[in-house]
């Protein structure tokens, strides 16, 4: 499955790009699976996802937990805890 990934704040800085389209291999079912797979793609990804527990995710611009299924997702975003307001 092909999906658009978007990165923000220090996740974006560590990976070195704001977005990309990736071909997700079969067997990657949840957001947590996706983070683990991304972390294996290279040093910059490993650095970004070192402490995957703190990273938040959104599927199609809605907050999700790390056990959320990614099937059918058009856009998945990864970012640090938010600091707006």
């Amino acid at each position: 499955m092909s999906v658009k990934l978007r990165y923000f704040a220090w996740v974006r800085e560590r990976i070195g790009k704001p977005e990309e389209i990736v071909e997700v291999p079969p067997g990657i079912a949840t957001v947590a699976d996706l983070m683990a797979w991304l972390a294996s793609r290279g040093e910059e990804y490993a650095h970004a996802f070192t402490n995957a527990k703190v990273i938040r995710a959104a599927i199609d611009q809605r907050h999700v937990q790390s056990d959320a299924a990614i099937k059918g997702a058009g856009e998945i975003a990864f970012f640090p805890p938010m600091t707006g307001g």
């Binding site: 923000f8 704040a9 959104a58 611009q61 975003a77 970012f79 938010m82 600091t83 707006g84 307001g85």
Partner: protein, 161 residues
């Protein structure tokens, strides 16, 4: 019921925004305005500027969802939320929440609710520029606690005042 959500790079005028809400509904007897401002120091070190990054599209829809929830929970007669992004200098405004209601309790509660959610759920990230370089602001546990107090299930409208 006038509800406005705006994301913008430019500064906003608190007085203009407040007047617009009260003009739109003469039953507003209580108006609360909250303004979040860029401080000049962080941990006793001077700040040169703050840069706010956001997730376009999701930031608007998250704020709109929370405004809709506030309207559901309190008898509001008007709401305005403006959040700036981009580079902001110390002393400049960052965020504005205006809530109008017949009486003060609902206006106060809804403004606090919206600010607590903006802090922890709206996809914005602050980067601070100091003499030593740039760094991302860490999320504070106290903000998370403040947000959680609103998630207790409640029935019907509250603090009707």
């Amino acid at each position: 019921m006038k509800a406005t959500v705006r994301l913008q790079r430019e500064p906003f005028d608190v007085a203009v925004e407040a007047a617009e809400l009260t003009r739109a509904n003469k039953d507003i007897g209580a108006l609360v305005t909250f303004t979040g401002i860029c401080r000049s120091t962080e941990n006793d070190q001077p700040i040169a500027a703050l840069t706010l990054e956001h997730y376009p599209g999701m930031a608007e829809s998250e704020i709109e969802r929370h405004v809709a929830e506030a309207i559901e929970r309190w008898p509001l007669l008007g709401v305005t939320v403006i959040h700036r992004y981009g580079r902001i200098m110390p002393g400049e405004d960052i965020v504005l929440v205006v809530t109008g209601s017949s009486h003060r309790q609902a206006a106060f509660a809804a403004a606090e609710f919206l600010m607590d959610y903006l802090k922890t759920r709206a996809p914005f990230w602050k980067q601070v520029e100091k003499a030593g370089g740039k760094s991302w602001v860490d999320a504070k546990a106290i903000d998370e606690t403040a947000t959680e107090r609103w998630s207790t299930p409640r029935r019907g409208r509250e603090a009707a005042g």
